[in-house]
Symmetry: C2
Subunit: 483 residues, 2 copies
């Protein structure tokens, strides 16, 4: 079994110099090219685009199974529509891209490019929702949203063109809305679990909730540099937007009321970043089998005089596995086996199969799993079973390894000094907080990290006073630097 020591040994650069490590992988492993001459706009290369597309399919399948309808909404809204929900416009107006339409007077106007689609979707909800029979209404779309970030951009983590899935739902009652919060959390948790990504499920403090929400739940994934990576959020909007956009329905008793709403978003590029940085090592990507563009690579080891037998055998193996897994037979003649190993390790291919003269004679293959680099002999007739097992076991190992790392990164702090040191040491810090905005600001200023919120999945009662003011604490919160 792999230990943290093993992971750390092969992840020296990842943990000590994350930015360099990450940027190298992005281009070398064909994830993204960051050289397009508009800041914050990425070109997704073949592996990056492929993995995001797979993530999208995994998520959309679960959304559709739970009754979310795919619909597609415009890129733009009008400034009138955008301004309807007061908190929302306050939160987003500083960071939107605008299109000024010229032309004849009738068409002179300003269009706002969506930073998120509430102001585009909810005017339609108003048209569609008449009675309780129309509820719940659950829609989703996978699109890009655009935010004119003034902060420094970072590929995948903080970009101006953000690929995500956003879901929007409307319900009859607060109970139904609460049930939907749990369903959304379950869907996102499942996808992340199938990708082996570990995260903290946090209820954001009020000062950091989504603009216009009653409360916000966030999925914060750990990152090797100690920052947390918010990969998804679920917002209970209560009736705030319903009142702003006048979305009412006729209840079963004949009276009219506002609907209760949720919106939730799943950031594809940030999940891609989490896959790279939680699982990767100094050799490159380590991909969960479900999203790997190539799941198996077969590399023939050719010796003079035996090329024909080995190639024939390699082709046999290829035919055996290719319909079950995405397989490449790397038979390039001008590249050495060592160079091929290097290439496919960089690409994160879960399983490598080597076949040489020895394997031909013995009727075996040599498998190497990318996560542990363990080499395994396997007879040809047990190959399918063995690979089936390994694919599951690789995901299990990635998930457990990632979870162990998350737990290792979380440290308790009882003083500002302890907390500051822990954040400097790239940890996620658990502190007691009284709940006041003043203390939150003190913590941010002193500790250099932000309060990310309290656990949503478990109740954690404070057993000590507020770390900032020493008064009675209301809650236990997690503090970290963030992207």
């Amino acid at each position: 079994m792999t230990s943290e020591k093993q992971q750390s040994a092969s992840c020296l650069k990842k943990f000590t110099n994350f930015t360099v490590w990450f940027d190298e992988i992005l281009l070398n492993a064909k994830i993204v090219d960051n050289r397009f001459p508009v800041k914050g706009f990425l070109v997704y290369l073949e592996n990056g685009a492929y993995i995001m597309d797979k993530i999208r399919k995994m998520l959309e399948e679960k959304l559709e199974k739970t009754g979310h309808k795919l619909m597609l909404f415009p890129l733009v809204t009008t400034d009138e529509l955008f301004a309807k929900e007061a908190e929302h416009i306050k939160g987003f107006s500083g960071e939107v891209f605008k299109i000024e339409l010229k032309g004849d007077k009738e068409s002179q106007r300003t269009l706002i490019i969506r930073p998120t689609s509430e102001t585009i979707i909810y005017p339609m909800f108003k048209l569609w929702i008449r009675s309780h029979a129309d509820l719940p209404l659950k829609v989703h779309q996978s699109v890009n949203v655009y935010r004119y970030e003034t902060k420094a951009t970072r590929p995948l983590y903080r970009v101006r063109e953000i690929p995500w899935n956003e879901a929007h739902t409307a319900h009859e009652s607060p109970t139904d809305a609460e049930r939907q919060v749990r369903e959304a959390i379950e869907i996102y948790s499942q996808v992340l679990k199938e990708l082996g990504i570990s995260f903290l499920l946090l209820k954001r403090p009020d000062f950091d909730k989504f603009a216009g929400a009653v409360y916000s739940i966030a999925f914060d994934a750990w990152n090797p540099d100690g920052r947390v990576n918010q990969v998804a959020t679920v917002h209970n909007l209560g009736r705030n937007f319903a009142k702003a956009y006048d979305i009412t329905f006729e209840k079963k008793d004949g009276s009219r009321g506002y609907v209760y709403q949720l919106c939730y978003g799943f950031g594809y590029s940030r999940v891609l970043a989490a896959i790279i940085s939680q699982h990767g090592d100094d050799r490159g990507l380590v991909l969960p089998p479900a999203v790997a563009p190539t799941q198996i690579v077969i590399i023939p080891i050719l010796f003079k005089g035996q090329e024909k037998e080995v190639m024939k055998y390699a082709e046999e193996i290829y035919r055996e596995v290719k319909d079950r897994w995405r397989t490449v037979l790397d038979d390039r003649e001008d590249v050495t086996p060592g160079e091929k190993f290097y290439h496919w390790e960089l690409m994160g291919t879960p399983i490598r199969i080597e076949v040489g003269p020895k394997e031909v004679i013995e009727g075996t293959v040599t498998l190497t799993r990318r996560d542990t680099l363990e080499r395994i002999q396997c007879s040809k007739d047990k190959l399918i079973d063995k690979i089936t097992f390994l694919m599951d076991d690789i995901l299990r190992n990635l998930r457990e390894r990632s979870e162990r790392m998350l737990h290792k990164l979380i440290v308790d702090a009882r003083s500002m000094e302890e907390a500051t040191k822990a954040v400097d040491d790239k940890n996620i810090v658990r502190v007691a907080w009284c709940g006041s905005l003043e203390c939150a600001q003190k913590i941010r200023e002193n500790v250099g990290g932000e309060i990310r919120g309290e656990r949503y999945d478990i109740a954690e009662r404070p057993d000590r006073p507020c770390i900032a003011c020493g008064k009675e604490a209301r809650t236990i919160v997690y503090v970290a630097r963030a992207y």
Copy 2:
């Protein structure tokens, strides 16, 4: 077999009052909602979004099988990049949406929202292509492009937010580029064939080719109102863009040269429009099975005292077919069978299965195919085979029916008067043309239709003089109104 008479009889409104018919279907069959308050920006409802998503998957599968890599490129380009290819900017600069970035001086600039992505993708090609080993390079993406149309917009046909797939390729030689033209045409033709859509494959006249192309091939689908609907295009760009964006490669002989390029696009909303308008009838949609959100609907016909047996039987049938086809058991209690028939015919569901007391006793079901409305008795044990046959036969019939209509719509004209009358009668007109721009203009002004080009798939030699000037004709061209 269905005759044109049958189709015409059930398509009275579609052929006599297309616009009203089409707009009704769009909203009633949940295709799009055109009430969003920005002109030319549609909301795709559950069926429209679903069908487009299926079309996308059909196309992308074929693109990937032929070596096209999915990549994703930014929404915007800079005005410097946009201006590089002289013909291209002339063609598109009048109809782009612009974002004026404010903020500090360094970031003050104008961004152009893509009307198509040559000016975004080719600067990256310049970075990626070094030698012949990098060629061919074939990429594709399914995205929206944006054109600030000044003409009247029409839902799906002429919109400002255009969902499409665009592919871009680079090659070593003109021969390779020509081979790629044929591959692209084959891919698009296959998808359209699997949707039963018939079209003319036309080489556009020079004055109507893509801005920056050497020549353009277009897929013009017929439309009930006599206009043609350009659903896809393939452009051979030669070295025009390679020279503008300086895309060179080292050849096998060590010298350097410009690459040869293609771009081709497949319009999802226009193909959706073609599905609706070529196959639909006055009862609503008639969907090809491959893209139907619901492929089979089962409707129990309940008689007092026998509800239980019939429902049990309907559920049995449901369990038998649901894993093979997308099936709905419509067991709503407050809706009559007649209302259900009406609903699912509107939705274009390919096969309806009715089961009542008679079917329970006989161990049969009554099938109705949506394309011909023919009713078929089938014993329960032959159901799977029968449905498998019918699904294929429905597509075959839709395709043949559509092709017969296309051939019926094409008429020969030997004089301007004949041509004008034919266009007025909603036909596509075949005329001889000398090839001069003057005569093209005369034809447009007199006939009220545009020269859409000559056949690319077959050679048609003119056997008569130019319809406009009476001089020797160079080619046979097709004239029609267009969207």
